[in-house]
Symmetry: D3
Subunit: 333 residues, 6 copies
């Protein structure tokens, strides 16, 4: 039994070394990842029992994805097996002025073709307290949108808290479709998480985002009013270069907005930093942290993730807390 259940697609990621273009030489480094898997790993690594639900092919790629989740302590006992292939993507890290390149090869994946009747949510959720999925999952297929809907309904019925990250991927679906799909789930969402820019864009809220802090507040209020959300958490990322980002978060809980410290982060690997943010939010919820502590830990988790290779955040609870409390990159010896 796990406190947290997350649901989505885990993919094989293939990347050239930093500074190299894709296929410039003959070596690719592999890792596995996907938003909801990253959230599950983050939580499992920081002391939360976490279960990840997906569908994997019955081949060495599927087995390896599962083994990697096991390695980081995630409960994989409800993962389905079968279907055609594992989604993959080629990810060339950006450097300096050169942006990252992401080539998706995820169509026809086992997960994207999985069916409503394959998921027994009552059983999956047994004993769980929180459910997390992101906007990537329901856009993968019409059927998966239905699966997410089933999951949401069951989660609410069983009293789980539902966390949803908008995670709009323009390569997967357009803005309008994303809005339509997301609106279907909003009534079931307890904690809505998004980049402030994406939320504004997808829900066509027309907030002026030049002053990002103000925008966070007005956008949260707008989302709460319009969609009856109780808790909204927004993130602000500034891209200084492919090697340096600014990052902070806000949580608006009831009437009050709490902002985290503003981080300026050197980037080893920014993939999964938003997921670390989600994971830390959920962890704080399960540990009963107050909103200010939650957003500080979440932003710290995101900032720290930028320093680790791969999609997964391999950071312990101690490291997270030491950093949030003001660590500074000094060697301890």
């Amino acid at each position: 039994m796990a406190d947290l259940v997350t649901f989505g697609e885990i993919m094989l990621r293939l990347s050239p070394e930093y500074g190299y273009r894709l296929f410039q030489n003959d070596t690719l480094k592999t890792c596995f990842g996907g938003s909801e898997a990253n959230v599950a790993v983050f939580c499992a690594q920081t002391g939360i029992t976490s279960k990840y639900v997906t569908k994997l092919p019955d081949d060495p790629l599927g087995s390896a994805a599962k083994a990697e989740l096991n390695k980081y302590g995630v409960d994989t006992s409800d993962i389905l097996t079968g279907g055609e292939r594992l989604g993959t993507y080629y990810y060339e890290k950006g450097a300096g002025h050169r942006p990252a390149v992401c080539v998706y090869d995820r169509k026809h994946s086992s997960f994207s073709q999985s069916k409503t009747e394959e998921y027994d949510w009552e059983n999956i959720f047994k004993g769980a307290k929180a459910f997390h999925f992101s906007g990537i999952t329901p856009v993968l297929s019409a059927e998966l949108a239905d699966v997410c809907f089933d999951a949401c309904k069951t989660a609410k019925k069983l009293g789980l808290t539902v966390f949803f990250d908008l995670n709009h991927r323009t390569k997967l679906c357009g803005r309008e479709e994303m809005k339509k799909i997301a609106q279907r789930f909003l009534p079931y969402i307890d904690v809505f998480i998004s980049s402030v820019y994406q939320a504004n864009d997808v829900f066509e809220l027309g907030v002026n985002t030049e002053e990002a802090e103000k925008a966070c507040i007005s956008l949260s209020k707008e989302m709460m009013k319009k969609y009856g959300l109780k808790t909204v958490s927004l993130t602000v990322r500034k891209t200084f270069s492919a090697d340096k980002n600014g990052f902070y978060g806000m949580i608006c809980d009831g009437g009050n907005a709490y902002f985290s410290k503003k981080y300026e982060t050197d980037i080893i690997d920014r993939v999964g930093s938003g997921d670390a943010y989600d994971g830390a939010m959920i962890r704080s919820y399960l540990l009963g942290h107050d909103p200010k502590t939650s957003v500080e830990l979440a932003a710290a988790a995101a900032a720290l993730k930028h320093s680790v290779q791969g999609d997964f955040s391999r950071v312990t609870a101690e490291e997270l807390e030491a950093f949030a409390a003001g660590g500074d990159g000094r060697v301890q010896r």
Copy 2:
């Protein structure tokens, strides 16, 4: 203008280091390859102008496949661009008693979904003398079988010599389907190449293959009689272990059968060794070699290919000829 045109699918191959299982660690080595591409590269590297025809996606994988062909001197000017994805496969080399593992992820590829009307064979074949394709190409889709059929007809019309390697891949189609598909092309084939075991199996000839040399002869005669073939070339591979193979070839041209030396080869990478055999056969044909020379060079090319990483044979004409003439692995310094 190229003397040789080959037609088929080139794929991205992803392999762990020798001795490692797939995803045992986080590094994969990449190369590009596919039977007909390998034939084109072999010929281009040994002095034959060679053109390769396929369809590649308009993304970094497609560009890299094309660049790799350019690197080895293959004419890529008639390669089509578009479609969904590049076929990929994961290839874990065998070692000792552990057999190689090949996981295809090639469905829905740009090539497999390409259409008859995209290929202008009259133009493609302008100035060419030989055409090569293998049994892999027409089994990828019903449409591709038609494309091959068009190509064969045009090749014959324009006076090209047609080389066909049976190359039966049991993961792509069953024996009976392979037979049906291959029979459609046999009337257009000038030189039929196959493993003796596969030919026997696919065409249900019922030859006793325990004594492989005898089998080569009777099977060739059977194929000639039954299908009106003029030239049949068969290969015999013995798998001693994942690291050591026996290999030799035979060409039956008119009434006479000529056998090559019998090689016992240590294996660095056996993928593409059959294609090197085909390439050397075609090269000998274009250079006007006699059957005995042809089969000796072809078997030498295949044996030598086992010693090179990747699908492509990176062997020069000088190296091939020195080896066929009796080289022994001594350092020249």
Copy 3:
């Protein structure tokens, strides 16, 4: 609840690339392993629920060892945490005429300093059917010998079948001490496994081992008579070079001796091959195989392990069975 429990020390292994001497360049490849851990991984990978018991330090080395066991599906819930350090060893693979070099740096390890009262065997063994440990464990400290003794007594009380591999490591203790220690456990052992040469040497049986098959039989009978053992399984390894070994096994069960095929194996990594033998023996026992099948699968498992990097056998049940049934290193594609 796991069917199998194994108990011993898992270490960090550090190895230069094949062909390089230790510290010849600045790269070491790491893996984790130890006889009983290898047995647990083998069984978990081939479908047997397996629990591994040890003590690991509370540092990144201990965490990584545990994560690696999790990755391969081993139950790590009863692993103790604490103590000073993880045992490590430097292992330079042999090549050609150059033998492997093994530099132990395992003294003062958390496991070797663990105490009797830390292990609650009644709980650990709940629901288990088999227990495995090797002669390495009780020689690490006098206290550990007592722990093993407790484990054996509890195992017998709870009806588990006890498997013991002699595994005499001359760098850890002398022959006479090994004999003394092993004799203490023999009354509790159901299945005694050893190299024929080591058993002869340690128990001073004076069997002529020049004709290895005969020696297996007479030595088994001697062991049975002298120590009241019911099942003895012996292995015969011939070292042709650092790159090639001969290997086969025998099981003597009641009055009859069954020999496996004799394998000649190219070596990628021979560490853990004896443990794969043990694992397959246990697996066969749990699956109810007859002695002949058991020894054939065990020898096949050992032969196959030689082809995989690292201490762990990363071989599936399907691969093991296909190989034992006569696979030959051919590519399947």
Copy 4:
């Protein structure tokens, strides 16, 4: 037939990994490059047909250099073969306060010993519109200076536009010799490109370069007046550290000077950034861009090159234009 012809020396470059000193460990990464080859590759990768002329030894180094040019789409059909060796250089990247180390081992190269009569410029230039070489080429030998002179004369006769980059390498020749050599070519140059500092230094113009922008303008006018040049393009590089440079360019065409944006660039590999500038200048000329567009694209090309390993700019026309239009290193997914 190619629109652009470039002429110079391509060398093998051997580099330790970033952060390592030369020969600190036993691995060197290789690439091929040289100013004019880099220009040809830049142009070929961004849609300009480009031919590169040089002389390469008939050995695996020469073949590899040619193959690499083929890979990136450069026409290598007029490359000469023969001579003693390929020029090589060892390049240790700088890091932080540690400057890069460049050890030339290029003497006695096939190219540096090539002769006037080996180059048939009438034929080489057939159909071409632009010719590019840099100050490196004529300083390699007195004979090569004559070859360049022949090339210039033929280029002018056939109506090609001649681009010349001063590229003064102090390890190859002194300032005075450079001036003397360069002056011989100036009457044939249509577009003169140089670092503002080098031009000032070599031609002893005595311009105060503390205010770099002003210096660009006065130096251009001085060069135009003194040497009758029509177009001068100057670059300004600021070295903040081995990992960060500032860069911008100016083009002075007729009476007007146009400056590009000023870039501050993190450095993956700064070798070839000036060549990317040249390549983009030529590309813009061939595409008919106005001076402002030309200098913006050229500076963007140079800034972007800093982010790619190796001498070659592996950047597409789309990437260049997106960046010049204001891209920011964000991931597209």
Copy 5:
């Protein structure tokens, strides 16, 4: 005969690649290092004859440590052999906001268990002019404190100048113990070197270190007054992130304090930068530099060390002097 003798522990360091957590993948990079060994290497590489004294195990690790010292020109003829093991440590570099992780596995090392009577200081010091050790050495064991004391006494007797770097490692001993141990040596120390923060902390001087420059001066005076020291050199390090440090030094010699330039350094590897500072101080002393030159070269040496992988500073005298004189990371070619 060497001008400098240093004494301490050299360890094997094992590190994952930059950006990876320990054991995230299966590769560790090795180097050898330790404060006093680093000082000896720095001096040997910049023209000072240097001898290093320690005790190493008689195994491949000990041999490799010695060979590495030989490689960099250090006299190893007085190194003792024997004992149980080489001290090792696992060092995960920090990145961005993630601090470095240092896991010591150095207990029970040959050096830490070496005895007073094994060291013949009269002989070791023959012909030497300077002796260096750091606070790490005497805290490794009570016996080693005695050995250091013997060494100090002999050094003074023979007229050597004694350099001592406080180098307080909190993982090895507490502040109070460090003070007690250090005080025993102060009467023998000619040049006392320390981080300003550590000195203040260990000797409980209660200086306000917010204004670091002022603190350097008052702390030096305090140390001189309290402990009769003649020369004190203090360093100030600011940790901006795991990738960027500020660094400068001060030397207080007699009544005057001299400060170096203030460096802001990108970090490839900061381990050993303090040791490079010490080495350059000693080198300047042996070359007769004045205090201002000494502190400038020492700070430059420390800044430059940050740019080199591994504990050792692989920088030549020419490189050091060029940098101290104002080099800027420009390529020389």
Copy 6:
């Protein structure tokens, strides 16, 4: 003072990974080596004080070559510095049927251009007992032949024993020139070493080498008779493939011929195996071994060298003696 002095050229060797062709990917592994340097390293590693004399350029390549010799304990104090470049060579290991490729780029090296007057043999030889050089050295330039001649004369004057290995490299000079050069030195040679085939070929002795053992004897006697040699040692290498050689040696001392065991060796790296033979011969001479022991150790040294990457034999005296005494590649643990 060293017992052994060797004299020759050390080069940088650049090799792709095993199984790859040169420049197939972008990684080369480096090592340093050369016949006489390899002999010096062999001897230093097995307990003989050894000095190596050569001339190295004053650049990072020269420094690295020297550092590598220091690392392995060779006395480098008489190495000259200066000149143009370090000789380099590209070495692609053979595999299976594919022979090794050796591309020399050693012309114009500092050593090959060094002058008679630069070498002060009286001083160099002070205290030495043996001198070794091979036929490679005097063929590098006419001047170097004179240097060798000077060295031989001085060696004889000072009573050193002179070892000469014919080492005919056909890429450096023809057979007739080799004969002429070698004959000049024979009067000064105490121990003449050669491949039986090369000696027969170069000195045109016309011995039938089909039966290699007989040939060794008659060829030795012929050489002794014709050239007044006292001790001749010949080696016999059989090339089974690029991965497997046969090897044995013979020493003919006075009237008697002693043969070593016949080894069949798997090949990791065969470069330097002949040099290990020479080194072991010299070592045995200095240790006073009898001829039979000498040839056994020499052949064992050569066989063992095949198992180690790089030119240098990194084998200890203990390992050599254990192997010669019958070791078998078994792990010791």
